[in-house]
């Protein structure tokens, strides 16, 4: 990446947030900023300005006024801005560019927008990903993603979704929505739902960047945000060990733990400890705690499965879901053996019979109980249901081992 490309990535969100505030128009701000970066290429090739951010902001504001004029959408606000702009041609200093990203986050993650649009809009405006990049990450056609973004921006304008940080009494609820968008981005990166690749590291990195930003912008530490960042850091730290040279999935128990990102694990654990001091643990904190127990085991056989089973039990009590119950069953099988776990798994049959991991888990337990035929049937069903190619290869390998 050239320095300008890097700068575009790093500064896009802040510049756009300031521009939208200045011109009161999402589209015009975005178009102007895009044009500004394009125009900067030849200018900067000659000489990089002393304060890049200020230069870009000054130029983009000027362009935004042009864009509004062009569209005939020249509001009173833009008029005042133009006048001010004519009067002072003084260069904008780095710190004069206001940071309005918190407003931008709350607008993009507004509950009146559909969740997939919230995710797309957040990645486009705050992270500076292009529409094509987002489309690729979510395996949809660029034109579909572009339409999704256009519709979302249309609703922001049409229904007047405010460009504002919500009042204190609504903040917890609205912040939860923001946090779940960040988690959606991470999950899509961490376990790609379908397609050829197992995970998309760049989405994980963007989610972590967003959580760090959120943490820096909100005035008081919130346990939900701290816990989510901890959870993502802990999971993402294992990324280098999750896939072997052939691109195959490597199970947690078989991973080369020396390849885990120690620094990131330590940061995650420290964050989690702080979050746990802030109040009773929510779902993200409990999941982060489970990841931390894994992180603390030097070898797979050192894992404190009793502790993990207990954490899943708490998660199940407070936030019941069949997938959580399935994970608890896996932990129980490690702590107390497959005989204790199988009834727990079988009890989830009606809820999870279409979920490949339910069949894969049953297959694993049955294999450990030496019930090979039943195990093979379960793995076969799992391999039929799975949509990710790398996971499918993994399941077929297990199946072949059983039939050998």
């Amino acid at each position: 990446m050239t320095s300008l490309e890097q700068l575009c990535r790093d500064e896009w969100g802040r510049l756009l947030s300031a521009l939208i505030r200045a011109v009161g128009d999402f589209d015009a701000a975005e178009e102007a900023l895009q044009e500004t970066f394009a125009a900067a290429v030849p200018v900067w090739a000659a000489a990089v300005p002393r304060n890049p951010r200020g230069w870009l902001y000054g130029a983009a504001r000027h362009k935004a006024i042009d864009v509004l004029r062009r569209r005939g959408r020249f509001s009173a606000m833009a008029g005042a801005l133009a006048e001010e702009h004519e009067q002072s041609r003084a260069p904008v200093e780095e710190d004069d560019v206001p940071d309005e990203r918190l407003r931008l986050i709350f607008t993009c993650c507004h509950p009146a927008l559909p969740p997939e649009a919230q995710v797309a809009l957040t990645l486009r405006t705050l992270c500076g990903l292009t529409t094509e990049e987002i489309a690729r990450a979510f395996l949809v056609a660029p034109v579909t993603m572009a339409q999704r973004l256009v519709r979302a921006k249309g609703k922001i304008r049409g229904a007047k979704i405010p460009y504002a940080v919500p009042p204190l009494e609504e903040l917890p609820e609205r912040l939860s929505a923001v946090v779940s968008v960040v988690y959606l981005v991470f999950n899509e990166g961490h376990s790609a739902a379908q397609g050829e690749v197992l995970f998309r590291g760049e989405l994980c990195a963007e989610a972590i960047r967003l959580a760090r930003l959120l943490r820096a912008l909100i005035p008081v530490p919130l346990p939900e945000v701290e816990s989510l960042l901890a959870l993502m850091l802990l999971h993402d730290a294992r990324r280098p060990a999750r896939q072997n040279a052939a691109g195959e999935l490597v199970l947690l128990s078989d991973q080369d733990r020396s390849r885990w990102n120690r620094e990131q694990l330590n940061e995650g654990i420290a964050l989690l400890k702080r979050a746990l001091c802030l109040g009773p643990p929510g779902p993200y904190a409990l999941e982060a705690a489970i990841a931390a127990v894994h992180a603390e085991a030097a070898r797979a056989e050192d894992t404190d499965w009793k502790q993990i089973a207990l954490l899943y039990q708490r998660l199940e009590e407070r936030h019941p879901s069949p997938v959580v119950s399935l994970n608890r069953a896996v932990a129980v099988s490690m702590a107390d053996g497959p005989t204790a776990a199988l009834p727990l798994v079988d009890a989830l049959a009606s809820a999870l019979s279409d979920y490949h991991l339910w069949h894969a888990t049953r297959g694993n337990l049955l294999a450990r109980l030496a019930r090979r035929d039943e195990a093979a049937r379960a793995y076969l069903r799992a391999s039929e249901l799975v949509q990710n190619d790398a996971e499918k290869r993994f399941l077929l390998k297990r199946l072949a081992e059983l039939q050998a």
Binding site: H110, A112, G158, A159, K160, P162, A164
Partner: protein, 111 residues
């Protein structure tokens, strides 16, 4: 900016008249947002509805609502609000929000 708050709920709840407690809720709502309410009415049940369509210049008049649904349009408020957040806030305070759903629709402005 104006928003129409459309109140959808199962009209069977009113088959045997109105709960006076709930009516008090609407009276209180009217007081609280009196300055914001531009218009508002309750509708008679869908058994009184008539639907009109013009097809090939012929008017077709049929008995019943536009579509049979589990919840029916039972009333509305037209509200003045500074943005959708204020409209959502007011929608959430309509007594029917506890039983049915309130659809929030910004009013179209033609330049």
């Amino acid at each position: 900016m104006q928003y129409l708050l459309l109140i959808y709920e199962n009209e069977k709840r009113y088959a045997n008249g109105y709960d006076p407690k709930e009516m008090e809720g609407y009276a209180a709502y009217g007081k609280e947002f009196g300055a914001k309410i531009k218009a508002g009415n309750a509708l008679q049940p869908t058994s009184t509805a008539t639907t009109v369509r013009l097809r090939e210049d012929k008017r077709l008049t049929t008995d019943g609502p536009f579509a049979e649904t589990k919840e029916q349009l039972g009333g509305f408020y037209l509200m003045e609000a500074k943005d959708i957040d204020e409209a959502i806030h007011m929608a959430g305070k309509i007594p029917a929000a506890r039983f049915g759903s309130i659809e929030v629709r910004p009013i179209m402005k033609f330049d």
